[in-house]
Amino acid sequence: MADDLFKALADPTRRTILDELTEKSGQTLFEICSRLSMKHQLAISRQGVSQHLAVLEAAGLVETRREGRYKFHDLNTAPLRQIAERWLVTDTTGPEKSTP
């Protein structure tokens, strides 16, 4: 699971997709493609975007839901907590506080 997560986050396009889903969760494939091309000038085919979404979904960062005839993609930030918890220093008097 952790490997999937780091692999998913390692790609700048996938991070951009997450940024856009942060702005608004619940987007169709078409809307995500529109945002990438029009807002970010990322010329990626619809198939390419689908593949990126599949990687994000495998990592648990994106969930899909069907609502009637539509399919929406939602952001799920829960897996990111694993990263924080993995290296989190529980002792708050540690070096984290000593920033100038």
Binding site: K24, T28, L29, S34, K39, R69, Y70, K71
Partner: protein, 130 residues
């Protein structure tokens, strides 16, 4: 050469005529019986009555359902209509109970939104700078 007519497949022509005229605000141009209960049914914009006609074509072809369902699932609109103010039109149509699957989204100079025409299609509206 110019685009004179384009078409959308609709589940039910009477229902489509209602939606495209009463809700969206187009006006009926041609309504000719063409066998069975089918009609050659076109609408135009009141702003341009001699302009491009939109044919509301019965979705009877077996391939039409597969094609339209696949587009709807990925959120891909079938046609795009130009409006002066996407946000205003969004408010107006939303108030009339139209289901938007993409709320107004500014993308550089263009703002778009996507809604369900209740006849099996997704329609995009867009405001572009003149």
């Amino acid at each position: 050469m110019k685009i004179h007519l384009t078409s959308v497949f609709v589940d039910d022509q009477a229902k489509a005529l209602h939606f495209y005229t009463e809700i969206l605000g187009f006006v009926k141009k041609h309504d000719v019986p063409v066998g069975d209960e089918d009609r050659w049914l076109t609408v135009v914009s009141p702003e341009d009555p001699a302009g491009t006609e939109l044919l509301l074509e019965p979705a009877k072809h077996p391939a039409a359902r597969t094609y339209r369902d696949a587009l709807v699932q990925d959120g891909i609109p079938l046609v795009q209509f130009a409006v002066d103010d996407v946000n205003g039109e969004y408010e107006r149509l939303n108030g009339l109970g139209v289901r938007f699957i993409q709320e107004p989204l500014a993308m550089g100079p263009v703002t778009t939104a996507v809604f369900d025409d209740t006849c099996g299609n997704l329609i995009q509206i867009a405001t572009q700078p003149q």
